[in-house]
């Protein structure tokens, strides 16, 4: 899906836990997620902490989306 959407000219950020698979399938902008059963959150945290974590992920993804890349890039920070 990442590749098909990008083919139309729209940049895509792939938020995903297993970064190596994302690299193998050819995503260009990758943001590492939390864990496979809960990629975008962490049920072990309390509500406020989890919200902050989720916000951070979304912000990182938006930053990645607006960053020019010339090769597959993993946005760790």
């Amino acid at each position: 899906m990442v590749k098909e959407i990008e083919r139309t000219g729209i940049p895509v950020v792939h938020i995903c836990t297993v970064v190596p698979i994302s690299l193998t399938v050819g995503a260009n902008r990758i943001v590492p997620a939390i864990a496979i059963p809960h990629p975008l959150g962490n049920p072990n945290l309390d509500g406020n902490e989890e919200k902050a974590l989720r916000r951070k992920l979304v912000e990182r993804a938006l930053k990645a989306l607006s960053t020019e890349v010339d090769e597959q890039t993993v946005f760790e920070n």
Partner: protein, 428 residues
């Protein structure tokens, strides 16, 4: 470490007044067995049935399959850290009731439980259709939580297997197999010219009912470690998981791991089988990185020339598999990986979720998406209530005429990744 496995061949299982083995027949005192399993208050009802090869019987949803074994000589007892105390096992003598197994069924715990047919086309896909099976039907107490339910049924299987195996304790085995692994340095001195080969066994440890235990420890909490191959023959590794039936390693698979047996067959002849590196398949990327770093490091530390790596389950564990392969190859050690495929019903899709050029020696256990039609059988042990929802089934799998159209994913052991089954493929 040296272990003798004494085979007591079981040709038939019947109910009887006493639990005993006589002339190759295992007699089971049904009431005594039920009472033993019912000691666990988590279970409301327990029943026992027998399913023999060739009978028109379907067992579903199958959770685990266990081989009855008993320690006759040597330290510890079977299923250490689980049923027996945490004593090191794998030495001395263990008697095995060969040709029979304990199976657990009953209300579903997780959606990835299996079907075992004792006859017909489905029977060809599972090794357990060739065994005389003592099937436990365990129903949970009202309101029992899913994890407690899984644990109660898991323990029921081990208790029943250990109970039956007691009958084998004082019987002279028909055949004795001996397996021995020397400490690393002694082995190298004894076989200085043979390549050193180890087995990297990947254990399913994703959590959420996908768990394996090593001496009672949840495998997601281990870091890769080394174990003598004979330890697993005494039940040091047990299954507690509801991964897709076709590629979950049941406890029976662990006890009879064919990679271990085949490496032993060639040990001292054309290779030196030094032991097993155990590792896991966790759901955090950092865990995957750490564990695969560690397997590669242990492989280097042991001075290996080659490893065989086996996977359990599919999807994200494909990444653990490829990471292990890639990192061990990078140390200059040759690898062979054993996996299976989810290549779509026509077999045309990409087989694994991950890949790498260093994975250039691959053994497949077959395509789990292949579709099969299972005919109606005379008797069902368990229930057909879940046929449409277990992994590999779909809405409408169970037809009005009683036939079941499913992917072979639902058949226990169908595309096993230890090479326990018969399917594979060869590139030309």
């Amino acid at each position: 470490m040296r272990l003798e496995l004494g085979h007591i061949i079981i040709k038939d299982v019947q109910f009887g007044d006493n639990t005993k083995v006589e002339d190759g027949v295992l007699f089971v005192n049904k009431e005594e067995l039920i009472n033993l399993i019912k000691e666990d208050y988590h279970l409301s009802t327990v029943d026992v049935e027998i399913a023999r090869p060739g009978e028109s019987v379907r067992i579903t949803p199958v959770k685990d399959v266990v081989e009855p074994r008993v320690k006759v000589e040597g330290t510890g007892g079977v299923f250490p850290g689980v049923l027996s105390k945490v004593e090191t096992v794998g030495s001395g003598r263990t008697n095995v009731l060969k040709g029979c197994a304990v199976m657990t069924t009953g209300k579903i715990v997780g959606f990835q439980e299996g079907i075992i047919d004792m006859v017909g086309p489905g029977a060809e896909y599972t090794p357990f259709s060739k065994l005389n099976n003592v099937v436990l039907i365990c129903e949970p107490r009202e309101g029992l939580k899913q994890y407690d339910h899984e644990k109660a049924v898991r323990f029921a299987g081990f208790k029943a297997a250990a109970y039956l195996a007691e009958a084998a304790k004082n019987i002279t085995p028909e055949k004795i197999e001996t397996f021995e692994t020397l400490p690393l340095v002694e082995g190298m001195e004894k076989y200085p010219n043979l390549p050193k080969v180890a087995y990297v066994a990947m254990l399913q440890s994703q959590g959420l009912l996908h768990d394996t235990y090593v001496y009672g420890v949840d495998a997601k909490q281990i870091v890769p470690t080394i174990i003598y191959p004979t330890e697993i023959m005494d039940g040091a590794i047990i299954s507690g998981n509801c991964v897709s039936a076709c590629d979950k390693n049941t406890t029976y698979h662990h006890m009879n791991n064919p990679v271990v047996h085949d490496l032993f067959d060639r040990h001292g002849k054309d290779l030196n089988f030094v032991g097993i590196i155990l590792t896991n398949e966790n759901v955090y990327l950092a865990d995957k990185e750490r564990s695969s770093n560690w397997t590669a490091q242990l492989a280097e530390f042991l001075g290996l020339d080659g490893v065989v790596i086996s996977q359990e389950g599919f999807g994200n564990p494909d990444t653990d598999l490829i990471m292990n392969c890639k990192k061990i190859e990078a140390k200059g050690i040759k690898t062979v990986i054993i996996t299976n495929e989810y290549a779509g019903r026509d077999g045309a899709s990409q087989s694994l979720a991950d890949a790498h050029s260093s994975a250039d020696a691959v053994v497949t256990g077959g395509n789990s998406n292949e579709v099969i039609v299972l005919p109606k059988l005379d008797k069902v042990i368990g229930t057909l209530d879940y046929t449409d929802i277990i992994a590999g089934g779909f809405d409408g799998s169970l037809a009005k005429d009683g036939t079941i159209t499913v992917e072979i994913q639902v058949i226990t052991g169908a595309t096993n990744e230890l090479g326990f089954n018969k399917m594979s493929a060869r590139m030309k």
